[in-house]
Amino acid sequence: MAENVIGTDISPPDLRAKITGRARYAEDFRAEGMVFAKLLLSPMPHARVRSVDTSAAEAMEGVLGILRASEMPVQAEGLGEGALTDEPLYEGEPILAVAAVDETIAAAAVEAIRVEFEQLPFVLDPLESLREGGPDARLDGNVGGRGEALTIKWPDSVFDEAGPDRLPMGEPAAEWAIGDVDAAFAEAEVIVEETIVHQSVTHHPMEPRSCMAYWQNGKLFLHGSTQSTERSRGSVARMAGVEADDVVFIGEYCGGGFGSKISGTPNMAIPAVMSRKIGRPVMLRITRYEENYIGRARAGFQGWAKIGLRSDGRMTALDLYLVQDGGPYGRASDFSTAGTVATAIYQPENMRFRGVPVYTNTPPRSAQRAPGGAQIVAMLEPLVDKAARELGVDRLEVRKINAPGHDGWLGENKAPFTSAYVREALDLGGELFNWEEKKQLSGQRNGSKVTGVGMGLSPFTAGSAGRDGLLVIRPDGKLHVHQGIGNLGTHSIADTARPAADVLDLSWDDVVIVWGDTSKHLPFSTVQAGSQTTHAHTRANHAAATAMVGLLQELAAQELGGSPSDYRVADGRVFRASNPAAGMDFAQAARRAMALGGKFSGEQFPEDLNDATKAAVAGLAGEGLIAAARDNYARAGAVFTWVATFAQVELDVETGEVEIVDLASTADCGTVMHPRSLAAQTNGGVFQGIGMAKSQRWVFDPKWGIPFTKRFYTARPPGILDVPRSPRFAAVNQPDPHTPVGAKGIGEPPVGAGEAAYACAVADAMGGLCLCRTPLTSDMILAELEGRPRPYGLLDTHV
């Protein structure tokens, strides 16, 4: 019997390549005759290109071609974004690209191009755009609707009534309610309300989105950095104006995405189209400076929340209004997700949600690890602390009182959860952190340092279904697990293959992961976003492995007599249960399958497979014993993971500096697949949340609309000295009953948990004073402690 691999620590199979320099990220590929492209970026936050004079650039020796927006197969249209544009909607938006034999010449040519811009009105602060007569970020409106921009303006009276420090709340773009929130407030024991600001945050993965493209025999080969390999092919094809069959997408390693590289990114179109135009391979290296502009960001909020607690600590009323800073394109759904996620923290008996997603002339938004979820957790948790203090209820207790159980529900339609071991996670966290003792330290002063403790509870979606698994037993006896998902650092590329090994009772050493290149025949996969992957692909590979067991049994019965059920599969063999000596090993089975053909070697396959998988199986047909299956496992309810993080901080009242002394996190994420990696994912997410709460500012020059915080040093993510040296983690490790492997995702929820725990601990160190804003920088804390007037308004963004 092979050892079960689920739940054990393994070294990811690609790690040796990563640590010897052999792993190739997008910018590490070379092609014969490769040339370089550089971008001309908009110097203005909103403008129209009047004329472009490229004559000087074209005359330069070494310049090979210039690509304009009008030549792109996908144009900026409706709410959609093009890779290049003649109406830039943010400073730094790419206008055109130049290709040259080397990058210096390309850059010199960019400098030699003369562009005449017509300046257009721009807006950075969503509230300004909601005023009558206020500027709009887009020519077609100021608010995101479904497929088109809307125009929403609030009368001056709305602003006058609110005053400078309270969110004005005019007509929303979206609204829903559960029960009667006003009646509930009338009966509440404690009511707190606050205006809260959450900044936008650039993703800034370590690897900028550089990409390289070339064409061979009418096929586009694109090397890019992506979270989702198989699913990038279609989006790249669309951007290049070709069929998906004509694209080979290579993305073996991804240097971080966090939601900014879910599938093909718009800039991939540039080398693709340029390469076709000039007939040379084109490398587009993206600098950190450019990454700040085109690399995506999390949407920010100006918000207002009002919470009502009953005398027993139950949240009877939650009223929420969110004004979203959504950048210039699409319709970031963070604000509506935030409303839904709030229900999964507190299960409020009555709730009203209102929101308006406003466009601004700032870099485009996309999902960022718990989009909407992290923000709302960090915005509401300190408020719940404040209410609990007023009521005299312990802060851990108030969360346990309101947390969902297995009969819990999600959102306005009150959808059920597949499982919710939230109280178990809170209890485990309380023990791990030693909450009962640590809370006694609250407010304790040592020299200039005051201790604060706090916690945050953060839910988020954690899995999808209906993807495919594709397995091949090759004539060498190895099991090849074809993975269409990306290799973005979560180790899920290997971990989701574990069920295949366990179902086949095969040693992990005999498993080969095939990934990273769509010409390798990859099955239909989830996009690696929304923490879907672990759940979705443990299911898909479980289904494929179950099908593989069936094929092995059938093959053995056909070759060796008896019926399929007489046979067992273990240790790389299929054999008679009654006589283990009678059987064949996987290598023999693969060779027999190739000889027999039909359903054994991929000439036939299940009809319900997704199209991409059918094509992959057809491509592999005849190469071994092939099993492909769609995940048809029954599932009812929303798959959610919860993370609770506890933080102890020391606030230096002389400097406003905060040091995190201790961190402990727990998760209900179903069955633990890979303990070490799970802890690392959680801790890393918690640190990202702390970065938002503490240091990562988003500041623009209000006069010119250009960003100040565009590099690591001006919007610094946490470094190794900014976090505790030994954060702790434990998982509830209860299987989700709606999936055969029991696993739920972990990627997103830690971010909000870390952010909230930090914000709550800092508030605790300040005697329960909630500043209701992120990031909470030292100078803000110090001004508050010293009783100086705030140098910013409560609703100000870009602080």
């Binding site: 620590d9 393994i10 070294s11 990811p12 790690l15 040796r16 990563k18 640590i19 010897t20 320099g21 052999r22 792993a23 190739r24 990220y25 910018e27 370089f36 550089k38 020796e61 070494g62 034999v101 080397d102 990058e103 210096t104 010449i105 850059a107 400098e111 800034h204 993965p205 370590m206 690897e207 900028p208 390693y253 991804c254 240097g255 971080g256 290296r285 600098t287 950190r288 400076y289 450019e290 973005l488 070490r676 802890a679 690392a680 801790n683 890393g684 997410g685 918690v686 640190f687 990202q688 590099r711 690591f712 993510p717 946490p718 470094g719 190794i720 976090v723 040296r725 030994s726 954060p727």
Partner: protein, 210 residues
């Protein structure tokens, strides 16, 4: 002027300011374009008129002597990546903010994005590709494997080189000391806990091999 600065930098008097001055003196395009790679030599005659540094240089990289044609303004990270095929050295920011390009020069850690290739002539450069010896991983590399270190791992080569440098300075660091010695590298995945586990394991392996 440039030569004087190169000489000075070889004596250890190298600063960011001098680096930038060196680049400007060499005639690189100062623009929003950020880091640049020159490979073709189309503009070589123009550039060679501006200074008097020999372009063809011999570098000692991972124990090998490599002859390369290097423009004066080229950084070591670019030479490694685009002239010598050593793409293990990563560029995360090209502005000395993230440490992804960390290499060893005479055993001391340097940001490869912020040192001119011409200034490392006659010095021993080690990149991530040079750590493995005869198929045996360096103790730091082995420690990464043992501890399952790193997530996306784009920062991994830089962190690894910093750990190698750390161990020559302090072969037996505490966790706290290791954190301080590795503070010049950034990991956006926030895998610092495993990175410190790796550092401690690397120190242990390193001592047992010595």
């Amino acid at each position: 002027m440039l030569e004087a600065e190169v000489i000075q930098s070889r004596r250890g008097g190298f600063t960011r300011r001098k680096f930038i001055k060196g680049v400007i003196a060499a005639g690189a395009t100062a623009s929003a374009a950020g880091y640049l790679f020159r490979g073709s030599g189309v503009l070589a005659p123009m550039l060679s008129a501006q200074g008097a540094v020999e372009r063809l240089v011999t570098l000692s990289i991972n124990g090998q002597q490599r002859r390369v044609d290097v423009p004066k303004q080229e950084t070591l990270a670019m030479t490694l990546r685009y002239q010598l095929g050593l793409t293990g050295t990563k560029l995360g920011c090209d502005r000395a903010e993230c440490g992804a390009c960390t290499v060893l020069i005479d055993g001391v850690t340097h940001y490869g994005c912020s040192i001119l290739t011409h200034s490392v002539r006659g010095r021993e450069v080690t990149s991530i590709e040079g750590l493995e010896q005869d198929g045996q991983l360096h103790p730091v590399q082995q420690a990464v494997i043992d501890e399952g270190g790193f997530q996306c791992a784009f920062c991994a080569p830089g962190f690894t080189m910093s750990m190698v440098g750390m161990l020559t300075k302090n072969p037996d660091p505490t966790r706290e000391e290791a954190a301080h010695l590795l503070a010049g590298n950034l990991c956006r995945c926030g895998d610092y806990d495993k990175i410190l586990n790796t550092a401690m394991r690397a120190a242990e392996l390193s001592r047992s091999r010595a």
